[in-house]
């Protein structure tokens, strides 16, 4: 330690020491002049000082996400009695994320294509492409409209292999459960935020038979509120 300190040479070392002291003193006085009651991080950088754009390499490890997610599921599970309630809890955990993603992903778009989704199709495309790309590093596998004439308000986003379910095995007695309800909550948040109120639920549709290509195939059923369709019809007539 002493060897290292001595290395830069007498004068230089002292100078550096003096500088350090100065900066400490000035730092102290500036923090004292700030308003009381509000605490700043020690480096003085708040959330407003951080850039919104993400570098290509800044990805999270899947293992740590899986660990965290398993904790979230068991946390929710301890506080509910039924599968429906559990899915609702997971849905609620995802909802605020969707609301925030909407703003974040649009500001990351190049200025020319920064437009608010005005109809259902452009909103669902935004979810299928931008939201999925951001969350899972790929697009969703499909987007379908309900073919039944009785439910024109239902749309389906299809994911063959949801990332959140990668390390989750559902016990036989809870076969109704799909933990992708969390992702459904995120989708619901995006829809609600963009003023397209909807209910989103996750359903496992992968077949049980041998040789199934995608046993974990999940459909996110997006059911829009009636007023959304009403507005959609009005806008369509105008355009």
């Amino acid at each position: 330690m002493s060897h290292l300190l001595a290395k830069p040479g007498g004068g230089g070392g002292q100078n550096a020491g003096a500088k350090d002291q100065q900066s400490i003193v000035s730092g102290g006085s500036s923090s004292a002049s700030r308003e009381a009651g509000l605490r700043y991080p020690t480096n003085g950088k708040t959330i407003y000082h951080r850039p919104l754009n993400r570098s290509k390499t800044a990805e999270l490890s899947q293992a740590s996400f899986a660990y965290l997610f398993s904790e979230m599921v068991s946390y929710a599970q301890k506080r509910v009695t039924g599968i429906q309630d559990l899915e609702k809890k997971l849905n609620l955990q995802g909802h605020p994320i969707g609301l925030k993603l909407l703003d974040l992903l649009l500001i990351r778009e190049p200025p020319r294509s920064q437009t608010r989704p005005l109809n259902i199709i452009s909103l669902l495309h935004f979810i299928k492409i931008n939201v999925w790309q951001h969350l899972f590093g790929r697009q969703a596998n499909g987007l379908e409209k309900s073919s039944s004439a009785e439910t024109p308000d239902e749309y389906m986003i299809i994911d063959n292999e949801p990332l959140v379910n990668a390390y989750i095995s559902v016990p036989r007695e809870m076969s109704q459960l799909n933990c992708a309800a969390y992702v459904a909550g995120i989708i619901e948040g995006v829809c609600d935020g963009a003023a397209f109120p909807a209910r989103v639920t996750a359903h496992t549709v992968g077949g049980k038979e041998e040789g199934e290509m995608w046993p974990g195939k999940t459909v996110f059923l997006v059911k829009f509120q009636p007023e959304v369709l009403e507005r959609e019809a009005l806008i369509g007539n105008k355009g």
């Binding site: 959330i47 407003y48 919104l52 609301l99 703003d103 500001i107 989704p117």
Partner: protein
Amino acid sequence: MSYYFAIIGTQDNPLFEYEFGTSKQGGDGQSRFSEQSRHLNQFILHSSLDIVEEVQWTNGALYLKVIDRFFNNYISVFLTPSNTKFLLLHQPPSSASIAPSSSTVTSSSSASVSSSVTAIPSLGGVGGVGGTRSSSTSIAANPTSPQTEEAIKNFFGEVYENYVKAVMSPFYRVNMEIKSPVFKNRVAAAGRKYL
């Protein structure tokens, strides 16, 4: 020019408000609203929310430009994708205060014409006239000119970036009031920079 800026949440609830004046052309950054119009401003902004809701489904852009006018008050709107509204009320200086400035322009131009026969100093005088002439098309005089639109767009863009940062805070929930003094300083800085 005086400005009153407000962020309105999805339930028509105010999240943030800030009042300032122009910093261009020697402005001191102070607003010149009368005490009475301060109260009125909030009503004017609130009433323009109806028009925002009409316009927002016909135009997918974030920046909707000037959408409403109440006497000498112009209201520009920027809509975030999550349906939060940024409203900026801008009030050009009333005609009484414009009149003397236009008279100075004419007097200075006549002075430069008379002195233009001489030599180099007159060039400076001509340049000065050009400057005042361009300022008549700039932000202060004409609230619907392209320059003004561009300046307000830049202002909104910067506020939007900081708003998204505020939203990114894990402790922030939608429709919460933004109280951060850092945010306020950033908005003030954007106002000084562009308006």
